[in-house]
């Protein structure tokens, strides 16, 4: 996947927000794990969900956790039947394939990696449903994070209504031999276009979504990353879950750092790794992701600052040895546009 195609990051970004764009995310991990009680129990050591209660044909955002509750990876896990057999279908980060697969295989020795035989495409943006529905059967009542099996070219494909841009959209896992035909069919619609990693990053950042290696790593727990909503709270009482004590303590006590959104007050660009200061020149935190926001026409960022810092006070970001004033902005920067109960919701 390139950084961008011919028309550039900003144009691709706007096309996704206003119409539709297609991302080839085939580099990501995809694995099928047989849905049986033994495997689920073993996986529940790492995944903070009640796996046996996952609703069929639904996806969940979750994590693999290390023994301290730190994030080994963030992932999407779905309960789906394939050829009448029940599976967990997991999509995970390319950069974490080695770590994740070690865990999956230790829990379920016959787990089947499918990313070598299946491409993964994300079609994102408000027009995506119209681009897709002429080519693939999509039921009218399909909501955000629903997942099902459909057909294309006589092949079974996995279709989920999801993505990582804050827009309505779909992810399609399709056998390699049909992948090129599908892309060609989709691109016949002039409302969509191929998009690259650059716009994928600026779209997810505007939507306030975390990215592994930036907001998330093995030394940060989901709670510290502001993602406690994704944890099953009952599981935090379960000793079988890695880091359960640390996580339940964190939920009750004040954290040392908090995740914030920042927006530039001038034209300077906020970037990953820049240091944040209070007005007495004390370091208070760091930026973990920054980019130019095409929707706000300013630079935006996500970062962590000390919890004790009073956010009514000014914050400065060091940019090329100069301190520039930045403003706190609630996450997300751009409201989400997901489909639920037959209508698009925020």
């Amino acid at each position: 996947m390139p950084i961008n195609y011919k028309t550039g990051i900003i144009n691709e970004h706007k096309n996704v927000r206003n119409h539709s764009g297609i991302f080839d995310v085939s580099h990501m991990g995809q694995i099928l794990i047989e849905n049986n009680e033994l495997y689920l129990h073993k996986l529940e050591k790492y995944i903070p969900l009640q796996l046996k209660n996952l609703i069929k044909n639904r996806s969940h955002y979750s994590f693999l956790l290390n023994k301290d509750g730190g994030v080994i990876d963030d992932l999407i896990i779905s309960n789906i039947d394939i050829k009448y057999k029940p599976y967990l279908y997991v999509v995970y980060n390319a950069s974490r394939k080695k770590e994740d697969e070690e865990i999956f295989v230790s829990c379920a020795p016959n787990a089947e990696k499918i990313y070598n035989k299946n491409c993964l495409f994300a079609i994102q943006g408000p027009d995506s449903i119209n681009v897709l529905k002429n080519i693939i059967d999509i039921p009218n009542n399909m909501n955000f994070f629903d997942i099902l099996i459909s057909k294309y070219d006589y092949n079974e494909i996995i279709v989920s209504r999801s993505g990582y841009t804050g827009e309505d959209g779909f992810e399609l896992s399709i056998p390699n031999e049909s992948a090129e035909n599908l892309i060609t069919d989709l691109l016949k619609n002039e409302n969509t276009m191929l998009c690259g990693l650059g716009s994928r990053d600026s779209l997810r950042l505007e939507a306030g979504l975390s990215l592994y290696g930036h907001e998330l790593n093995e030394n940060i727990t989901p709670i510290e990353a502001g993602l406690s909503w994704a944890l099953d709270k009952e599981r935090l009482e379960d000793k079988n879950l890695n880091g359960n004590k640390i996580l339940s303590d964190q939920l009750k006590n004040k954290l040392s750092n908090k995740k914030i959104g920042l927006i530039s007050t001038n034209k300077s660009m906020l970037r990953d790794g820049m240091t944040l200061f209070d007005n007495n020149n004390n370091e208070i935190g760091k930026i973990t992701s920054g980019c130019f926001s095409p929707n706000l026409n300013k630079s935006i960022a996500i970062g962590y600052i000390k919890s004790e810092f009073n956010t009514d006070n000014p914050i400065f970001c060091e940019i090329r040895k100069k301190l520039e004033l930045v403003k706190i902005n609630n996450l997300p920067f751009v409201k989400k546009n997901y489909k639920k109960n037959g209508s698009v919701y925020e």
Binding site: N4, G8, I9, G198, K267, S268, M269, R271, S299
Partner: protein, 123 residues
Amino acid sequence: MSEKKYTKDHEWVSIENEIATIGISNHAQESLGDIVFIELPSVGNSVKAKDEICVVESVKAASDIYAPIDGEIIEVNNNLENDAAIINQDAENEGWIFKMKVSDSNQYSELMSEDEYKQFLEQ
């Protein structure tokens, strides 16, 4: 105006009456992608060749612009303050970045010609 010359850092320079006009090459503009901001140099500063004197920010990265030759900055392209994308549209004309009073015109003759720059890009 004199022949346009190029540096290895992808700046272009042209000279008229000992005043050099400087910008980034079309190739540089293409590889940077959408340019969203430029921090212009300060008028009146005396600089040496290879000094970092301003920064172009694109959606991909920040990129330093170096002085191609010694001299004094005498003018900057204020249009870029409001619309840095002019560089994407016309890097080697309307997208000029600053002008310098040249101290040593020999430095200019040592820069690459357009053909030499093209060869340099192909390497």
